[in-house]
């Protein structure tokens, strides 16, 4: 099990087509581990089942076959806005630590203009701001922190499942 961010309506990023209906297998599937999800943020998030040969290529998982299992409902405009704001706060914090310089001024400007539609960019800028202050290890730590944020907010599990919610009391 893994996760895949998609465009609206399960549009496959960059492929020019859509995932088939949930439950229907497709060839050459691409997904991501939780730890790399911040790199691929998009409109919808899905739990994906992979089958056949599965291998890591950088921040992607590639498999012979895959299918959508269920959409992660918690990833919506509110969650994207919260993620972007969380990253903006990180950017401001890194800028405060670094002292005045042009790169940080640009990052700080970015932070001031980030909205829900910019959650992907917010994560990227925060990682770069971290790299500017703490070096490349800082960027890796910042991306890990973002992944943990997503996992906690969306109740994601490392095996790709969403934590079952307790049934609502009547």
């Amino acid at each position: 099990m893994a996760y895949a961010f998609t465009g609206p309506g399960a549009q496959r990023p960059f492929a020019g087509d859509r995932w088939p209906e949930p439950g229907t297998w497709t060839d050459r599937a691409r997904a991501s581990r939780v730890e790399h999800l911040p790199v691929w943020i998009a409109a919808e998030l899905w739990v994906v089942e992979l089958e056949g040969a599965v291998h890591d290529v950088g921040t992607q998982l590639r498999a012979d076959h895959g299918r959508l299992v269920e959409q992660v409902d918690g990833w919506d405009g509110n969650a994207a806005a919260a993620f972007a704001e969380d990253c903006a706060a990180r950017i401001r914090a890194f800028a405060a630590r670094s002292g005045p310089n042009d790169a940080m001024a640009a990052y700080r400007e970015d932070a001031a203009s980030l909205g829900p539609a910019d959650a992907n960019v917010a994560g990227w800028v925060a990682a770069h701001a971290a790299a500017a202050v703490e070096g490349e290890d800082g960027a890796v730590r910042e991306r890990s922190r973002q992944a943990a944020w997503l996992a906690e907010r969306l109740e994601l599990r490392a095996d790709g499942r969403v934590t079952p919610r307790a049934p609502a009391r009547r």
């Binding site: 990023p13 998009a42 290529v57 921040t59 992607q60 990227w124 490349e136």
Partner: protein, 90 residues
């Protein structure tokens, strides 16, 4: 290579877009290419335009082109020299 170090520039993405669409990149290169697209709306739109252009151009049927127009085009290409206008151009 870290994400920040490995990020392609927009110029590099433009240079690689044909190879990407033809499946000529290595898997690692493809992922770096897509990582850039994931956070760059401009390059993602460019890729989409290229894919649509190839899709539309690939569906042109040579038989659907008027014979006279085809002859004029072939003549124009054959007589075209660098620095000069093709003959019969409008």
């Amino acid at each position: 290579m870290s994400e920040a170090q490995g990020m392609l520039s927009c110029r590099e993405v433009v240079e690689l877009v044909t190879a990407y669409l033809e499946g000529a990149l290595t898997e690692a290169e493809e992922v770096r290419f897509e990582e850039h697209l994931a956070m760059c709306d401009g390059c993602a739109a460019y890729l989409d335009q290229m894919r649509r252009t190839i899709d539309v151009a690939g569906r042109l049927d040579p038989k659907a082109v008027d014979v006279e127009a085809c002859d004029r085009l072939i003549h124009a290409f054959r007589t075209w020299r660098a620095g000069s206008e093709p003959e019969g151009g409008s």
